[in-house]
């Protein structure tokens, strides 16, 4: 029996928080609460990345998701007054079907995961990933380097920005 490390304790707490918050995010009757729960899930995700040693990814997760997108959500929730009308119920049959499908899917996936033998494997120890390495890989043109997808994503973001402005502006 191994000793429980601090890392495991933190992971356990964060994992528990993420699971609870993701369920809350989809069941909460108030959308602002759901958005808050989403924020906590995103925080938890960034903690996962940190634990994995991907500090740069964790930072991006924090700044883009938790910082940017959730703020965008909150603004649009307030703009569309969605917090007022979240109490409409869907038909019982549809709800039951959705729940059954979800549970069945989860059970299936969990069964597959548990049956595959992941239980014994642990993540091998690794140093923190240097942001410099990430930067070089991001703008390099060699093998395992990603300048082309990087440019593609930047064009995509530009297109989205223009599209979002075009769609949302007043006619």
């Amino acid at each position: 029996m191994e000793e429980i490390t601090l890392q495991q304790v933190i992971f356990g707490i964060v994992a528990l928080m993420m699971m609870v918050c993701s369920v809350l995010a989809v069941t909460s009757g108030k959308i602002l609460r759901a958005a808050t729960a989403l924020l906590f899930v995103l925080f938890g995700t960034s903690v996962f990345y940190f634990i994995l040693g991907y500090t740069y990814l964790g930072a991006v997760q924090l700044s883009v998701y938790a910082g940017g997108i959730v703020v965008l959500y909150v603004f649009s929730i307030l703009l569309t007054r969605s917090d007022k009308n979240m109490n409409e119920r869907i038909p019982r049959g549809r709800w039951f079907a959705a729940l059954a499908t979800t549970v069945a899917g989860f059970v299936l996936v969990a069964f597959l995961l548990l049956g595959h033998g992941f239980a014994d494997t642990v993540i091998p120890a690794l140093e923190e990933l240097n942001p410099g390495t990430v930067g070089e890989a991001l703008i390099g043109t060699g093998k395992y380097q990603f300048v082309l997808p990087f440019e593609g994503v930047s064009v995509l973001l530009l297109a989205c920005m223009i599209g979002a402005i075009m769609i949302a502006r007043k006619h």
Binding site: R94, A97, A98, T101, A104, G105, L108
Partner: protein
Amino acid sequence: MEYTILILLLPVLSFLLLALAGMKMSHRVSGLIGTVVLGAVAALSYMAAYDYFSLPRQADGTFATLVPWNAVWLPFTESLHIDMGVLLDPISVMMLVVISTVSFMVHIYSFGYMKGERGFQRYYAFLSLFTFSMLGLVVATNIFQMYVFWELVGVSSYLLIGFYYTKPEAIAASKKAFIVTRFADLGFLIGILIYGFYVGTFSFTPTETGLMQGAMMLPLALGLMFVGGAGKSAMFPLHIWLPDAMEGPTPVSALIHAATMVVAGVYQVARMFPLYIAYAPDTLHIVAYVGAFTAFYAASVACVQSDIKRVLAFSTISQIGFMMVALGVCTGAPSHEGGLGYMASMFHLFTHAMFKALLFLGAGCIIHAVHSNEMSTMGGLRKYMPVTHITFLIACLAISGIPPFSGFFSKDEILTACFAFSPVMGWIMTLIAGMTAFYMFRLYYGIFWGRENKELHAAHVPHESPLSMTFPLMVLAAITCVAGFIPFGHFVTGDGLSYDIHLDATVAATSCVVAVVAIALATFMYARDTQPVADALARRFPRLHEAAYRRFYMDEAWLFVTKRIIFRCVSRPVAWFDRHVVDGFMNFLAWAANASGEEVQPMQSGRIQAYVLWFMAGIIVLTLMLLLCV
């Protein structure tokens, strides 16, 4: 003689032109197109006849059978194929002349008769169609082409009988004609199929081997074909449509229901004559008995009818009966003399077409003048309509068999042939010939002499018809006067050899005496203003008179058979089966498709979440299946 194909093509082109563009033309133009085309067809037919009969005879003394134009249309096997073509032999050339002449006359006549009628162009279009079909029928190179044109003739007859389609009687008559002849044509078709199956060809002249194979079935096949011919030629008991067909315009009656179409059955028997005489003489004699009975029946009905067109219709039936008898009494034994009836029949067909067309066209003039078919509205018309009167009288004399008019010669040949077959048949036919003379002169006196319907004529003075109507009368009357002197036996005979027509003195004298006596009797009974003898006879035998007037209840008998027996015992169950089983199955298919659609339809809600839910569930199921199978 390739130009003979034009005889077929011209009327069909004229039909297409008039039918497609007729409504854009004036009456005069459309009528002129039809008439000019028919004039050309008539000229071509005369030219074809002249060319054909001036060809030298073959070594065995017969005229060659020419096929100037032929196209294989539907080949089934080597020998079994349906062709479309033109066949020239003595009878088809003779028919070409008859049809184009009468049709041409009717075209001219219709100018006056149909003047101002609604649907004038349609009328001429249909006339062209009919002429085309009838010409195609007579020049058919094989039995199937004959059948195709046979049906076309039926269709054009249907269209023309129902020409006044706003009159319920006309519609009923056209339907009756179509259904009755169609019913009979079923026999024809089955006969053709049996013939094609057993003999292995549709040709009129099968090979020796084919005949060997099919000899057993030939009597049946020919008998069934005769059923079709009996329907078209109004033989008892399939004659019921012809009197009703008089609802059509009178020139149409003259053309179709007197001169040309109704003799198609006779022509058909004549066409198959070599096969009849060689393989089915008994069937041929059945034809004779049917013809004799029909002739007698129709003549007795004609004696009491009061509608002049009905009288003429029954007279037509009776005369076609004569032609059938003449064909039927032929015997194969001495082939030259035995085939006398064939020649007589064709001769009578020729002369009858002319004088019966003349009678109908004359009746048309009379109807045109008094606006009625009923004899009671007529009487004493000779003063008003001299041309019609004289031509009608000539035709009556011809049909009665008074020399020197054409009917005498042809009828005399028929009677000679009958006496050669059996004296009983000869005497019966002589009696019927006497009846013919009697009812024709009853009709003649009823129209032109007798008691005049003065008040009606005072209100509307009858007048002679315009030249366009009297001219065809005069032409046909002239033909009737001289046609008897045509050396017909030189052209058309049973075995193809030349035959000198010589009058059998006994027969000729007997028939003349009978005819004269009958005419005298009719004069005695009907020529004066009052008709005491006829009325007394009608009172003495009221039942018989009533029965004859009602055509011996044949229509009622047919109605009983169709309505009570066929409708009730056959049509009802078939209709029930159709409605409940066949339709039910189709309805079930439709219902099933509809119901499943209704069931599936809510799934297409447009709600994307529902789609994703199904998608997800499907993925889970597929994954489970993969897991369980592997």
